[in-house]
């Protein structure tokens, strides 16, 4: 015999299971209308992908998953989408939420399915994808997306796979019936899970001892497998995931942690059948087994019901008598919630509809004073002190509540059940949890706002500093250049080369900064590496965010909301990073028709720079000018295109084009100056290769300079500077008039030149 552990506390409410076990599972048929809520699971709601009026087939995806913790929704039968609107959904607070409404046509026409004969041929990721695409979420209670639950971290070693067939809530027999009638499918589903999870030690199905028939059926079906059925005494709430884990393995899932932290993955038994059908037959989750019971139902039983079926349709099949029933519960009597309206649909987590008579479950009597009897603490499966928490909850002492581990409370209701004073303890805990969550969210929000403000402040400061640094650098360069006036070739070369690292680089930087907020100069490989890393970190972050979210959801932690938003943000970031990486890869692979001009520009600029490396300075200068021209043409062309198509890259392009033009102009100006100062080579000016021209001119200038006296040289330099200042001024005026965004650059250049000129004038002779 396998060792079985006991959990603390627990209660023994009357089981009331026999009523609904009199008949086998019956098919509920096709209701005239199906209402599919977009959120039937924990996580982000699905997004509709059908339109009103569209005909849909049975099993067709009608809403797709949004984000990592989400699952899609499928049409449960064929028909026409008649509305996508807010409707009442089954939820404790009677929420209105978006639903897709389908008027069924009764044909029940399937969409083409994609069965897999041998799932072992599939990759793990493909399998998970399939499970997710089939919309499978935990069918036991919370509705956590199964694929998320099954995608354990790679470093986590799972030794035990646990299938939860406990069904400890009174009245509910859906899993029991499933075991009796579909044990084969359960085992088939578990085998898929085994393949996915690869538990290193054991696979256990936990079942309470009040289901002998189900157990026998399972045992038979599992005969030739390594799946063990573990039977343990009936006690509520043995079926809580953490409780079941403790019963079967003696391990405790750490507070705020996941079963995977102790090497365990746990799945509901109903979910295994859904997974089996999804993998083997490609069937999405469109139906489930729901128990309809309670004394107000004359024909209680279990029904295979299409998801989206309105509750009143199903109740009718169970012989529901409204007059006898004061409260209608979805779920069991311990953890279920009351429905305000019978028009709400059956969803993925609807395991039971309980319609008790007033005698059966009388309305709660008024609460009396707590007599500190401790029966609640005695009953609590988590070993909390419910009566203390009750005092604190009443006193709104939230810190004390958290100290007393309020967030470890699984809201099982055992304490309320046991309380002789009829105190609705769980209600107090729920309200307190909600309040604490709200407060935390507000705190997070204000912290975010603060962080944003600080980041902005910092950015502004940094930008100021950078501007200052640039200005200084330019002044330095100007001095140097003035000093280097004796060597016009070098100057020309510098001049020709300088713009490449200046405006072009600036354009690149700006383009890059605009997209990724990334840092300065880097080679193509560096960019690639950086982007890859960004994707990697984003992936890692997303993973940890998902894990955290999962944990939080499992533990019902207070920061759930914050985590969800964080998770969404991470998902977005990852998508962005990936996109960027892709773009970059396209750009660097030379796809000039890439639709990201900036990336292309970067790539080309970098390629040009790289090819420059092993060439002589002359060639470089030549190429520089040539490439500048080429780039300008291209840039202009692209700009025109972008403008035409109204693309938002137009702005970036415009800037970079302007800068390119400016750069080219200044390079040409330089050449012009040289040519002006040196008449003998004027003949060469006829050439239309400006780079060649510049080089020739520069060489000529050097020759001439060599002959000149220092005063002459100085004078010449001065003259050339003056000419440049003049030209820049003209250009600036022009730019200002046309409102071009090169104005600033020009102003900078002008300032720089004027500085230089002033210096040169101050000390004309000595410079040489």
């Amino acid at each position: 015999m396998r060792k079985i552990w006991d959990i603390h506390g627990g209660v023994h409410p009357p089981e009331n299971k026999t009523q609904s076990l009199q008949r086998g599972i019956e098919n509920a048929g096709i209701p005239p209308v199906l209402v599919h809520p977009l959120s039937q699971h924990i996580g982000a709601p699905a997004a509709p992908i059908v339109e009103v009026g569209q005909r849909v087939l049975k099993g067709q995806m009608i809403a797709e998953a949004k984000g990592f913790v989400s699952v899609p929704v499928h049409a449960a039968s064929s028909g026409t989408v008649s509305a996508i609107e807010h409707r009442e959904i089954p939820h404790p607070s009677g929420l209105l939420a978006p639903c897709i409404v389908i008027d069924t046509d009764g044909k029940d026409e399937w969409i083409e399915l994609d069965p897999v004969d041998d799932y072992t041929t599939l990759e793990k990721a493909d399998l998970l994808h399939r499970i997710r695409d089939c919309g499978i979420a935990g069918m036991g209670g919370a509705g956590f997306p199964s694929a998320v639950k099954l995608s354990t971290r790679d470093d986590a070693v799972i030794d035990t796979l646990i299938i939860n067939g406990t069904e400890c809530e009174p009245y509910i027999t859906a899993d029991d019936m499933l075991m009796r009638e579909r044990a084969d499918q359960i085992i088939a589903g578990i085998k898929i899970l085994q393949y996915l999870i690869q538990p290193t030690e054991q696979t256990l199905i936990g079942v309470e001892d009040n289901k002998p028939e189900g157990i026998a059926a399972l045992r038979q079906a599992a005969e030739d497998s390594n799946i063990e059925i573990v039977v343990f005494p009936t006690k509520y709430p043995s079926g809580g995931e953490k409780q079941l884990i403790q019963i079967l393995t003696g391990r405790e899932v750490p507070s705020g942690g996941l079963p995977a932290d102790v090497g365990i993955v746990c799945q509901n038994i109903g979910t295994t059948v859904a997974i089996h059908r999804a993998v083997q037959f490609g069937e999405p989750l469109i139906s489930r087994i729901t128990t309809v019971t309670g004394d107000a139902c004359s024909a209680p039983g279990n029904f295979e019901v299409l998801l989206g079926t309105p509750v009143d349709y199903l109740l009718k099949l169970g012989g529901f008598n409204q007059a006898q029933c004061l409260r209608l519960v979805m779920g069991g009597p311990m953890m279920g919630f009351t429905l305000k309206d019978t028009s709400v649909p059956v969803v993925k987590t609807t395991n039971c509809l309980l319609a008790p008579t007033t005698e059966e479950l009388p309305p709660p009597p008024p609460a009396q004073a707590c007599i500190r009897c401790g029966l609640c603490a005695e009953a609590c499966p988590v070993s909390l002190l419910p009566q203390q928490m009750y005092w604190f909850a009443r006193g709104k002492e939230y810190e004390k509540l958290e100290d007393h581990n309020l967030f470890d409370c699984i809201e099982c209701g055992a304490c309320s059940y046991a309380c002789p004073s009829n105190i609705p303890l769980v209600q107090y805990y729920r309200a307190s949890k909600a309040e604490i969550r709200k407060q935390q969210q507000e705190k997070v929000k204000s912290e975010h706002a603060k962080a944003r403000f600080e980041a902005r402040q910092l950015r502004i400061e940094r930008e100021e500093a950078e501007k200052e640094a640039r200005r200084k650098a330019r002044q330095e360069a100007a001095k140097k250049k003035a000093a280097a006036g004796k060597d016009p070739i070098k100057a020309a070369q510098e001049k020709a080369a300088a713009p490449a690292v200046d405006p072009a680089q600036a354009a690149i930087e700006k383009a890059m900064a605009k997209r990724s907020g990334a840092a300065p100069e880097e080679s193509s490989e560096e960019t690639l590496a950086r982007l890859q890393k960004a994707v990697e970190t984003a992936e890692k972050r997303l993973e940890s965010a998902s894990a955290k979210l999962k944990e939080a959801e499992a533990a019902d932690a207070p920061n759930l909301g914050a985590l969800q938003t964080a998770h969404e943000r991470m998902t977005e970031k990852l998508a962005k990073a990936k996109e960027e990486l892709q773009q970059h890869q396209q750009a660097s692979s030379g796809a000039s028709d890439t639709d990201d001009p900036a990336a292309a520009a970067i790539a080309r600029a970098q390629a040009a720079r790289a090819s420059k490396e092993d060439k002589s300075p002359l060639e470089k200068a030549q190429e520089q000018v040539a490439s500048l021209e080429k780039r300008l043409t291209k840039s202009e062309q692209k700009l025109a295109e972008a403008k035409e198509s109204g693309s938002d890259t137009a702005e970036v392009l415009e800037q970079s084009t302007a800068k390119l033009r400016e750069k080219l102009d200044s390079a040409r100006a330089e050449l012009a100056q040289i040519s002006e100062s040196e008449a003998p080579v004027a003949a060469a000016a006829s050439t239309n290769d400006p780079a060649q021209l510049a080089i020739e001119k520069a060489m000529a200038a050097r020759e001439a300079a060599a002959k000149l006296s220092p005063e002459d040289k100085a004078r010449k330099a001065l003259e050339s500077l003056e000419a440049r200042v003049e030209k820049t001024r003209a250009k600036l005026a022009e730019a200002e008039e046309s409102g071009a965004d090169t104005v600033e650059v020009l102003r900078d250049t002008l300032a720089k030149l004027e500085d230089k000129l002033a210096e040169a004038r101050k000390d004309p002779g000595v410079e040489g």
Binding site: H8, V11, P13, P92, G94, K242, E252, V253, P254, S255, G256, L326, R327, L328, V329, P333, M334, M335, G336, F337, T338, K340, D341, T342, L354, P356, L361, P363, P364, P365, P366, Q368, A369, C370, I371, R372, C373, L375, A377, E378, P381, V382, S383, L384, L385, Q387, Q388, D403, H404, N405, D408, E411, G413, A414, Y417, A418, P420, S421, N422, V426
Partner: protein, 347 residues
């Protein structure tokens, strides 16, 4: 559609506070029967008058506090207090003794602290101790049990007459066996036993049977899971251990055998009806074990070396003081937590 919106759980256990209280009342019957058989109708007259007074005072104070009277009277907690006090007081106590006792129990110990559930001290024991300190003579004179002296015990009329202090009814009173044993310092226990007709097989005549009666009632409550075994059993255990430790086989200075202590005075009444009072005891099981054990120790200490004949009331009140502290230091370890709450706080 008028469907009820209530939060889960929808099912509720069979136990209610009123049920608990009624079960407690019911379980006092064997003990009360024994007391009546051996000491006459004085106990019943105590209970009757105390109950009436308690209900009246409770109703009055509820009215003053503007609480729904019927709702609160229905929980029977005042009745339990009255019955326990009535049992604890000497049979056929005068009415004014009862009135003062109930006044302190219901008005001061219970309602001035906020009513049911808020009282840190056991109301019946507060009433008892106030009386013991104020009227030591009346409180220590216990009617003689059947078979001693003239062999007669108080009938119902006599008891009521005595309760209302009409002259003419003169019951024989004497010290209780606990008292006798404590005062004794010359005779061996064995000789004391032989020379004193009020000693029975285990302890005092009548007392042993009353204790057996309350033990039976207590076991029934335990069986019905009205309370857990922790506090009463640990109290009885510690009392047994301590008396065994100091029992020297019966010298004149002996403190009495374990059996004597278990079946004397209000031991069983205390163990199963006072120590188990949920409101004023520790909450966790571990806390209750300590709580019960400490009461057992205190009972022995006060019985043997203290100035009062019985010690249940003092011991219980002393430990009522300590209960919150015990609660604080005996918080259970929550599932999934490595440390206890307390240690976590200290980190």
């Amino acid at each position: 559609m008028a469907l009820l919106t209530v939060s889960s759980p929808h099912a509720h256990g069979p136990m209610s506070t009123a049920t608990v209280m009624r079960l407690v009342l019911l379980s006092t019957l064997p003990g009360v029967f024994a007391l009546t058989y051996f000491f006459g109708f004085g106990t019943l007259s105590n209970i009757l008058l105390a109950s009436l007074l308690a209900l009246g005072m409770e109703a009055l104070i509820l009215k003053i506090r503007k609480r729904p009277i019927g709702f609160y009277l229905n929980d029977c907690s005042a009745l339990v207090t009255a019955v326990l006090l009535g049992i604890a007081l000497p049979p056929a106590s005068p009415w004014w003794i009862l009135a003062v006792g109930i006044l302190f129990a219901i008005v001061f110990a219970k309602h001035l602290y906020g009513g049911m559930g808020y009282n840190p001290f056991n109301p019946a024991m507060v009433g008892y101790v106030v009386l013991l300190i104020s009227f030591p003579v009346q409180m220590t004179s216990w009617v003689a049990p059947i078979g001693t002296f003239n062999g007669e015990v108080l009938g119902p009329i006599d008891a009521l007459m005595r309760t209302f202090s009409f002259s003419g009814v003169d019951a024989v009173t004497m010290a209780t066996p606990l008292d006798v044993l404590k005062q004794n310092n010359s005779l061996l226990v064995e000789d004391l036993w032989a020379s004193n007709s009020q000693f029975g097989t285990l302890a005092g005549v009548g007392w042993e049977w009353a204790n057996i009666g309350f033990l039976l009632g207590g076991l029934y409550l335990l069986y019905r899971r009205v309370f857990t075994w922790h506090a009463p059993i640990s109290m009885l255990l510690s009392l047994t251990l301590l008396s065994a430790l100091f029992y020297d086989g019966g010298s004149s200075a002996s403190g009495g055998s374990p059996l004597f202590h278990l079946f004397s005075g209000a031991t069983m009444l205390g163990a199963f009806f006072i120590v188990t009072d949920p409101v004023t005891s520790a909450v966790s099981n571990k806390g209750r074990i300590i709580y019960g054990a400490c009461i057992g120790i205190l009972v022995y200490l006060i019985r043997v070396w203290g100035n009062y004949p019985d010690a249940i009331a003092f011991s219980v009140l002393l430990m009522n003081f300590a209960a919150p502290l015990l609660d604080h230091y005996t918080q259970p370890r929550t599932y999934g937590h490595k440390k206890k709450n307390l240690q976590k706080e200290a980190d």
